[in-house]
Amino acid sequence: MRTEAFVIHLRDPAALPRLALTTLIIVLLWPGLRLTEFDLGVLFDPRNRETMGKFIATFFPLATSAEFLRLLLTSTLETLAIATAGMALALLIGSPLALIVTRSLSISRIGPGRGFAVGRMLRLPARFILMFFRSIPEIVWALLFVRAVGLGPAAGVLAIGVTYGGMLGKVYSEILESGDTRPTEALLEAGGGRLATFFYGMWPVALPELVSYTVYRWECAVRASVIMGFVGAGGLGQQMELSMRMLNGGEVSTILLTFFLLVVLADAISAFLRKVTA
């Protein structure tokens, strides 16, 4: 065996550097194994294995009692409702901020007046709010809102509204600025107001892109609202958390299956909406 390894080594001039690089990576990752309390043995600990084995064994058959299915339907609808209501809130938060932040809609930007500096000063806090809203992940917002308004869908709606409001505001303003801004400029220079200019200069051009991004975000919101349920923000996730806690595998696998179907459904709805509005 040794001679063979030696021969390969001779034939492959890159063997030594590769070996060195691999060793380096392993050495760098080694402390990580300690930090993550890496211990595959835990998984095979007899007591753990027994509970887990029992739990996994109950994954099949799926839970199909009429009572549970009714509960499942309610939480699925709740998840969809959270995503939709959250998106409505996000639109309310994001759209006005996007209009404020969009530079090409600024009237003061054109003239040499004193408004220039003031306009810039006003855009800055709006930009900051958008950044703040979207840089905290939705599940952290959900955790905070669950503490503030209690367990249930309200926390999920607020969390999606805030996080996605921040994203919508930023992306909307980017879409508005990246399009052809000459009509906007012409309207503004001819004395058009901010809103009128937006509706006549930008809206017709940017609408398809705005709609398609919003629909895509709704799709993400459906997935996010399932996940947020794990911290108590209602919907399918909360139901899954409950079933896991009760070690009811059949319910967990049914909910997982529902989750897949829901993602597929959201995908189809979003594709349909984009086709209709395009």
């Binding site: 194994l33 930090l35 835990v42 709740e78 409702a81 939709t84 905290i136 503490r147 996940i227």
Partner: protein
Amino acid sequence: MKPVHWLVVAVLIVVTWVSFAFLSLDLGLLLTADARAQMWKYLVSFFPPDLSAEYLARIGYGTLETIAISAIGTALAAVLGLLLAPPAAGRFGVVARAVARLILNFLRSIPELVWAALMVMAAGLGPFSGTLALALHTAGVIGRLFAETLENTPPEPTQALQLSGSRATLAFLYGTMPNVVPQLVAYSLYRWEINIRMAAILGVVGAGGLGQMLYFSLSLFQQRQALTVIIAMLVLVAIVDGASAWLRRRLVA
């Protein structure tokens, strides 16, 4: 706007209204004087953030733990993905291909946080569960991409090696791998970047790292500590963003 568009808008408005009604949400309740006062009190209780040296040390440890979870998770995922990719690319026949694809799809379609919740049950609270959760989900993502890369690599170098008498394994290692390794490394690093962000929040279901610290401090009503953790998360993500943008510019230029 065409009539179809008006119809879509009308339907959307109705659906939104139904959603609020179904959840029996009255956001107006959040704006009453009482609720506002309570919210304000809650908000104020987060300030100032706890910046004592002792707590900052714990935050530092939590940050290291988060980075370790993401690094080990991604490394495991790369290994697992690399093992599943050749069968998924059809190197071992149709049956193996179908089975490997099924496993990869299964791993990939369960979100990290759901994996984390499951792993917390299997391996207990702590960073190890987070590592496993990231490894499983990411293995599905990376494995699929590796498989596609393998399928799209030109077969000629490997064929040339095999025709000149090399064994299949060696022909694979020296004919195929050099073509795919750069992409594998680049994609694994990219997933690592995503996973650092994910590892920071996985802890909210008990899977270690900064997220778990946030969860604990919020549960114990220590809002000032919670704010420190949130700031640490934001700083970590900002640093990762900055570093990756910088590296990308350097590597591409």
